[in-house]
Amino acid sequence: MSALTVHNLRKSFGAVEVLKGIDLEARNGEFVALVGPSGCGKSTLLAMIAGLESVTSGEIRIGERLVNSVAPKDRDIAMVFQSYALYPTMTVRENMLFGMESRKVPRPEQEATLARVAALLQIEALLKRKPGQLSGGQRQRVAMGRALVRDPKLFLFDEPLSNLDAKLRVDMRTEIKKLHHRVGKTTVYVTHDQVEAMTLASRIAVMHQGSVQQFDEPQRIYDHPANMFVAGFMGSPAMNFIPAELTTEGGKPALTIKLADGETATLALFDNVASRATSKQVILGIRPEHLSRYDPEARAQKPGMVSLHAPVELVEPTGAETIAVMRLGDLEIVGRFDPDEAPSMGEEILLGVDMAHACLFDPATRQLI
């Protein structure tokens, strides 16, 4: 059963259409992440689900109920805002009780819920403080506490971690994941951070220019991006895109790519994608971690491995891994190496390309072949 269904949802501000027919669905207890760059319409979509923005056309259902013109307070939702939006003049306790008081929940029940949620989030010690006296992370917890006391049908998170510093963000990400496991409420989570989306969500909707590019499980989105936008957006460093031509090598389908000085290289294709291509010209998408130092022995285990010469232009060690920028004809490609076998600057590396994980895109439609 779906906790949330969005069907062909459109939103226009004047002549500008910011959402162009969104279809989305969250099953009961599911954690759906809406991810996309700034201005892709993800926050507008969330605001429309919350009832804070009007619907131009289409349908939003929470449970079975059509809520297009239902006021936010009657939608049975709770929301955590990017700015936390805590009531500055109230203490943490009053902040958390405000919603229940508005809904005339009986006093003893209010107290019991408050105690339970405060214990869950470990904010009992903060209850008497005002938001101005809390750190960013504490405010974040209180904002979640205010949502949790409501016991709603749907939780909405609007970039809740983007105001925290990097370390705290990772901690809170883990906490949110744990919390979702424990509470098990259907959640819609907006973020521009693809790592957050990957780690938290059971399904991700990647949005761009007002439409959903792909809506699927994180690993499927990562491994089989629907188009070049999704491929480039999800994953860091981004996927390498290399223009190539479909050819054959020894009777088997292969790709030819241009190198410097008019030379070419031919890479054998691992599966039979070639039959699906509509033109000779394709774009090869290969993730940085599928490039490595070519090792003839490892080839036995990785049947899709092919080799390629490339000069190394830049090396960026990050500790756990080393990122190297290499030249391939007119292009720069980025590889992700184990620090032990990382190339050095200026080296001409014999690069292993794991074609088993390669994606091919149609250069005209930019869709996955």
């Binding site: 919350a50 009832g51 804070l52 006021a71 936010p72 307070k73 939608r75 939702i77 709770a78 929301m79 805002f81 990017q82 700015s83 936390y84 939006a85 805590l86 009531y87 500055p88 003049t89 109230m90 405000f98 919603g99 508005s102 809904r103 101005g132 006296q133 205010r146 409501r150």
Partner: protein, 310 residues
Amino acid sequence: MQSVLEPSAAAAGPSWRERLAQAVPFLVLAPSLAATLIYVFVFTGWTLYISLSNSSLLPTYKFIGLKPYADLWANTRWNIAYHNLFIFSAFYVVGAMAVGLLLAIVIDQRVRGEAIWRTIFLYPLAVSFVVTGTVWSWLYTPDTGIQLFVRSLGWSNFTFALTTDRNLALYAIVITGIWQSSGFAMALFLAGLRSVDQDIIKAAQIDGAGVFRIYARVILPTIAPIFLAVMVVLLQFAIKTFDLAIALTNGGPGIATTFPAIYVYDLMFQRGQIAQGAAAAIMILAALAVVLVPYSLWLVWRKRREGKNG
């Protein structure tokens, strides 16, 4: 001042540029500091001294103690004036704030032609108190104003004579004052309402609060400091009330709408009772201090509390 001076005096040989840079804040502030020092503190001290002297037509410096104050408080007209001040201040401040807040909330609902409404309501503030007083005195005067107009419409027994009734004349001034100042209150309240984080309001909507509850519990408490600021500004308008009352009722009928400022003027420049006039001026200062001292103390306290809690 000291903190500005000390570093430049203590520094052992900074370049003239550094010296200049350090001296600039002081140089810029110096004229206004000197003016404040002389016109506020020196003259206040002088007035205080005069109020304890036997000055009559001209200031003299013979100290006679609190006698001018005793004379002042023995005077019925002064007592009425001081009493009027409190009644007027209370009604005027509460009234102007209430009307101003109401206007601000209405305009905050994103009404059409907002800028026009804002200008209309703010406009009275641009009119001087004397003009306001004169125009409203025409409106209030039974023979020329509202009473005449309504009677001309046919209600020949209609009576509207606030300014000629000694018990009501004060409220005529209150109403006029509210008309003049509520736009100012509105402008400040509106700025406050607009500064409230929209997310907070959205959060309250999702929390299930109605419009009234959102204003009462979330928005208005957030702009509480603005209430206090508006109140203090209006109060000091009220305490200085002079031209409005002069133009509107000239202190009448009889002495019903005398205000302390009017009385000070009278004593000093009409009747040659400078000592008593100074005493009355000091009493006005005392009334202002009652308002402003707690306010400044509160500001300091709040700053310190915020500093302590981060």
